[in-house]
């Protein structure tokens, strides 16, 4: 396995990252570094810059200035050195509908260069309760089943860095809770680093050890959920999110 960093650089390092689409500033000079084996939530309202930030973490969007390094590799120039160590899951990006679950996992397993692919597919299928669905077309599954398949696709290469965009959106509370448990398990057993974008604050409170809150492309808070709740004198993260969303973007206290 290629190690751009010799295994020493932080999984993610973002410096002075800025992205402009024409005159619109989507991300405005943000910087952060993630430690291995942690779950960090990227929060913010619509248009805050979460999706653009995640896209730049994956090398899908080229920054206007600043840089993103994943395992030491510059994602604007050398992302192919580390992409096999990452993966991504979002209910808003489908896998091919006509392919069966097994065919999809086989295709993505090959794209990620997974060894013993058959064994690995059996393993993730068992872990995510997909064994009985393996030969059914993805397009004929329920929303909850599709989410589990997307998660299986994201875990098929046992990524060291997992990027999740609202992983439990459109799931019923029971299934969502089950998915969160699987994600916690995965992080623990694989010492994986997880970046989570979510609008579900209870999910963030449960999973994330750190919250990076974005507004208009800038980081306005970066601390643990508990610290954030305490600083605002609220009882949960949802109330904090609402308080922040209803304040001006230039609040000096938040930027401290």
């Amino acid at each position: 396995m290629y190690q751009a960093d010799g295994g020493r650089a932080p999984p993610v390092e973002v410096r002075a990252l800025r992205k402009m689409y024409g005159e619109v500033v989507a991300v405005d000079g943000i910087g952060f570094s993630l430690q291995a084996g942690t779950i960090t939530a990227l929060l913010g309202g619509n248009g805050a810059g979460k999706t653009t930030t995640i896209a730049m973490l994956m090398g899908l969007v080229v920054p206007t200035s600043g840089d993103v390094r994943v395992f030491g590799a510059d994602m604007a120039r050398e992302r192919h050195k580390v992409l096999h160590r990452m993966n991504f899951e979002s209910p808003y990006v489908d896998v091919p509908m006509r392919l069966t679950v097994r065919q999809n996992l086989e295709v993505f397993g090959r794209l990620y260069g997974v060894r013993d692919l058959r064994g690995r597919i059996g393993e993730v299928a068992q872990e995510l309760r997909l064994t009985d669905l393996l030969d059914r077309p993805y397009g004929k599954l329920s929303a909850g089943q599709k989410t589990r398949v997307s998660l299986a696709k994201a875990l098929v290469n046992a990524p060291e860095l997992l990027l999740l965009d609202e992983p439990t959106a459109s799931l019923d509370p029971d299934t969502a809770d089950w998915v969160r448990s699987r994600l916690e398990d995965y992080r623990q057993t694989h010492a994986a680093t997880v970046v989570l974008a979510s609008h579900n604050m209870s999910e963030v409170e449960r999973l994330a050890g750190r919250v990076i809150m974005l507004e208009k492309g800038r980081i306005i808070a970066d601390e643990t959920p508990q610290a954030l709740i305490g600083r605002f004198g609220r009882t949960n993260l949802e109330e904090v999110f609402l308080a922040i969303a209803r304040r001006g973007a230039d609040d000096a206290e938040l930027r401290s």
């Binding site: 999706t51 969007v61 080229v62 096999h84 896998v95 260069g113 060894r115 872990e127 046992a158 995965y186």
Partner: protein, 279 residues
């Protein structure tokens, strides 16, 4: 979730991994073809309709004009070769469009799949689709109209190679345009080859075109293929030089096509359009 042993989960790298990714993409498109018989039928439908129409037209003309009688195979050969260009380009472009229709492009672009590997997979898939479409049609031409494309021998191999390489160049440009401008430019992928129908002189010699248009026609590789077909049908002579010219032009077109694809992909990453297409 249990942890699997690290060595077993370590990803493959190097040429083996690259071949695996190409094979993965070929499998992905093969599974789509296999999953839907209407799609397979669609591959054969238009070439079949074209062949029947031009075949019967040629029979009619052969009965009423002496030239058409002498030039049996001119229309059928032309339509067969033209369909190789069109079907191969569409096979390439439509395989790529599948990714956008199925909202899967985002997953591919953030996977370790490299642009050269994607292009290699698309060329292989275009060949597979071409075989699925053209073998029954070539058989029909032989059975109904007594035109055996294989009787062209080495010439057919040269015609085939030049047309397929040109179709890949067009496929690269058209998919690049869709990458950059999204599904709004989808019709470009469907129609790009047809610009070359009048200019490549499929059914008439280059000299038929007005003088100012002839250099344009001669700058296109397919023109040499169709001139070569006419030379065989009318004079029984295979002009290898025409094929060499076509091949040299094709190398230039393919290089330009790949450069355009790479440029449009880069622009899509700068403009963020890959994210929008993936969702």
């Amino acid at each position: 979730m249990s942890g699997a042993s690290t060595s077993r989960l370590r990803a493959q790298v190097g040429p083996t991994a690259s071949a695996g990714r190409i094979w993965g993409m070929v499998l992905r498109y093969w599974y789509v073809i296999r999953s839907s018989w209407p799609r397979t039928a669609e591959l054969i439908y238009w070439p079949l309709v074209q062949m029947l129409m031009w075949g019967f037209l040629q029979i009619y003309l052969a009965q009423t004009t002496s030239f058409a009688g002498k030039a049996a195979g001119l229309f059928i050969g032309g339509v067969l070769l033209w369909d190789i260009l069109v079907r191969s380009q569409l096979g390439f472009a439509v395989a790529f469009l599948e990714e956008i229709w199925s909202r899967n492009l985002g997953h591919l672009m953030m996977s370790p799949l490299r642009p050269t590997e994607l292009v290699t997979a698309l060329t292989i898939v275009s060949l597979v689709k071409l075989l699925v479409a053209m073998v029954p049609v070539a058989l029909l031409a032989y059975l109904f109209f007594d035109f055996n494309v294989l009787s062209l021998g080495i010439a057919f191999a040269a015609f085939f190679a030049n047309l397929v390489i040109m179709s890949w160049s067009l496929g690269l440009v058209s998919t690049g345009v869709v990458l950059r401008w999204g599904l709004g430019a989808e019709s470009f992928a469907w129609l790009i080859a047809f610009v070359f129908l009048p200019l490549s002189c499929v059914y008439y010699p280059v000299t038929t075109l007005p003088g100012w248009l002839q250099p344009v026609a001669l700058a296109l590789p397919p023109t040499y293929v169709f001139e070569g077909l006419r030379a065989i049908v009318l004079n029984g002579a295979f002009d290898a030089q025409l094929m060499v010219k076509a091949f040299v032009l094709n190398l230039i077109y393919f290089a330009l096509g790949f450069a355009a694809f790479a440029y449009f992909l880069h622009r899509a990453r700068v403009q963020g359009s890959l994210v929008q297409m993936g969702e």
